[in-house]
Symmetry: C2
């Protein structure tokens, strides 16, 4: 499948590499291709320049957000929470129309310091904001409860014995995402319901950030025991 991964940070890179490895034709979308490729220094978080990563992943295309979205059958929002809506605007409503849009972002608010709080929660969610803004797209919230490495390699933790969730209004879109998740190795996939259930997985981040602090690693997940 032709997949556009919007976002060139750790999450975007890891998803692009993982989906490419799984046999998909992947293009990464970025706001400014020339700027993204010309950076030679690590960012403030210590993430190496995108061009370094790209040299080892020549099979992954790099295009503008709109070009990547236009050419894809399925789009993944791997932008930051705060950059998601503007980035998807740049990708273009027309280029996203009718397509499955997997939203893996979390609306983390770092403005109050660490650990982050959420910019939207409780009675709304980023997943819902995106679905409302792009009513012609079929938004499926997924994978936002684990770090990038686990998203594409769930089996790397306890043989994959942990849970991932999907939220979305379109049953066909969710079935397609479930199949994609299974192809990545996910075995315990819970369909929480419509896109309002994204509040649940996004608000879980408040526990996630505390567990990250306590466990000292982002390589953890939860298994729903029932």
């Amino acid at each position: 499948m032709k997949i556009a991964v919007l976002g060139t940070g750790t999450v975007g890179r890891t998803l692009a590499a993982g989906l490419s490895l799984a046999g998909h034709e992947v293009t990464v979308g970025t706001r400014d291709v020339a700027a993204t490729l010309s950076r030679t220094a690590a960012d403030p978080m210590g993430t190496p320049p995108f061009a370094d990563w790209r040299r080892q992943h020549q099979d992954v295309g790099v295009e503008s957000l709109s070009e990547a979205a236009a050419g894809a059958q399925l789009v993944v929002n791997a932008l930051s929470g705060s950059g998601s809506l503007s980035g998807l605007e740049a990708a273009g409503e027309r280029n996203l129309a009718g397509k499955v849009l997997i939203d893996v972002a979390n609306p983390l608010d770092f403005s109050r310091g660490m650990p982050p709080s959420l910019t939207v929660s409780n009675t709304d969610s980023l997943g819902e904001e995106i679905q409302r803004r792009f009513p012609g797209s079929r938004v499926v919230k997924a994978l936002n409860t684990v770090n990038a490495g686990l998203m594409v390699d769930p089996a790397g933790l306890h043989g994959g014995e942990h849970t991932v969730f999907v939220s979305g209004d379109d049953a066909t879109a969710k079935a397609q995402v479930v199949a994609l998740l299974e192809s990545l190795g996910w075995t315990d996939i819970i369909d929480l319901g419509d896109i309002t259930t994204a509040r649940g997985t996004e608000m879980y981040l408040a526990l996630w950030v505390r567990l990250f602090g306590t466990l000292g690693t982002p390589a953890f997940s939860i298994k729903v025991v029932r």
Copy 2:
């Protein structure tokens, strides 16, 4: 240990019975003892009258909130989220002073319909509100991520292979609560940190209520896989 369980709903009753069974001297605290004992009809949720339950649990005392708190070494807040602060006021700051106060309540807001949202979240929590209001007490948030049955019988689900969390500012108080949890059968207990980490477990409720809807049972929990 002499334990006061404040609240006569399902959570209060189940905790009182479980802690009594574990060998503690338990008194249930209620706003109006005479009214609580005189009710003969089930409540709107279908919970049987307290007096019926009491007949089968003669070992558990019943007193006013203030009497129960005054006589206890450790107090459990098993009141509803919306009734917690007023109930603890009725219990009396002086009667709670210096004591470990286990807060198992969640600030669920049913005013917008089902599933509930939270009355406080993101940058504050009920656990923190209680700690701020009763600075002389040692609040430990715990057990609020599972239903009443699992609180006192974790082994009843998958042999206890799931996780419970504690949050609180006082390390000694948390150690005491951890020991109490272990006596109930909990084996995987994660200390998340200070009382602000109660935001994490309270906000997890947003996922819990959706899982409840999807799974059709409240008898589930999460295991932190790491």
